[in-house]
Symmetry: C2
């Protein structure tokens, strides 16, 4: 089976073990479905490894993720009760970041995004989680709410062993350049094209 076998050995001075165990920066981008869904699927693997999982939803409306949120929170509950898997922390921008005491800033999405990113940076520094899902994180970058230099250098310098998965359309070229794993999801066919609307259990 060719899967899992490297095509070539890079001249980077790392041992195979070091290279194998490098923390990953993954980007799921493109116009198709499955960018976030695949990220949450990856979180299932991380949970099973006992990693602390953090999800930061950089979206105003969290409706589209309630199924994943409920399931991952349930897995966090399983961890608390039985010790299996890892803990799960799920943060939603639209509902207000849990650590934030600011009031009345619900409509200032740029400020909210900056607050969310500042917290991610604090957690990187504290090496708090094993896996961070930064959901829809490409948009605050695209819209200029976050500085791409700051994002890239922070990701490059994050200490220890912290995996990061970033989702969203139109990933910044420098993010794609820096990432270890980049997947583009392309829509081949979608039921909305045939007049179907989003439905419970499928779209959210």
């Amino acid at each position: 089976m060719a899967e899992g076998e490297p095509d070539q050995i890079p001249d980077d001075g790392l041992t195979t073990r070091q290279r194998r165990n490098r923390p990953l920066l993954a980007v799921n981008t493109g116009e198709g479905k499955g960018k976030s869904t695949a990220a949450f699927g990856l979180a299932l693997r991380g949970w099973h490894q006992g990693w602390s999982i953090a999800v930061f939803q950089f979206v105003k409306n969290g409706k589209w993720r309630i199924g994943e949120e409920a399931a991952l929170r349930a897995l966090g509950g399983v961890h608390e009760q039985t010790g299996a898997g890892g803990p799960v922390d799920w943060q939603i921008m639209g509902a207000g970041w849990s650590w934030s005491r600011k009031q009345g800033s619900e409509d200032d999405h740029a400020a909210q995004a900056a607050e969310g990113w500042a917290e991610v940076k604090r957690r990187f520094a504290a090496q708090r989680h094993g896996l961070y899902v930064l959901d829809e994180f490409t948009y605050p970058i695209t819209w200029g709410w976050l500085d791409i230099d700051d994002v890239c250098s922070t990701l490059a310098d994050r200490p220890g062993f912290q995996h990061v998965v970033i989702t969203g359309r139109g990933a910044h070229p420098r993010l794609v350049e820096q990432a270890d794993l980049v997947t583009e999801m392309t829509k081949v066919k979608h039921p909305f094209d045939a007049g179907q609307k989003g439905q419970r259990g499928i779209e959210w």
Copy 2:
């Protein structure tokens, strides 16, 4: 937000409600990562809706899915204990289908795939599950182990309200034609290219 809005209303004689609530046949294909991972992410949504979830892994080696399997089984356990979400049934070809009493057929993958598909057909007829993940199901079709006519007519005629997600590279053109939602995952960049090997929590 344009998401969730149909582009056009088809002339299919269905009401919007009927069209909205049509059971979905989805195909995740392409050379990139995330095909199965996104399918398992979709299973999280279905679980949250209280659907009965069935996963049929049409692969010899289930190692690459142990994290998802453990997490989804844990969610099935949450359902049993608290009533939240739905039940989960996870079947692996390589380990032997749980309902099969045949011995010594471990090496006959064609026969195993046919057995798995026969069971899926029985469950369709019994309307046993709300969501079926037929993982890596494109391969037994590609290899001629399953008849594409039989697969397509069975899927088209499945009764009631049963969603199906099929994953794997090289989906048969007729499967793509018949599916409601088709997403192609394309590899833009992969750590194996840089000599990195598959690692725990990321690849499995």
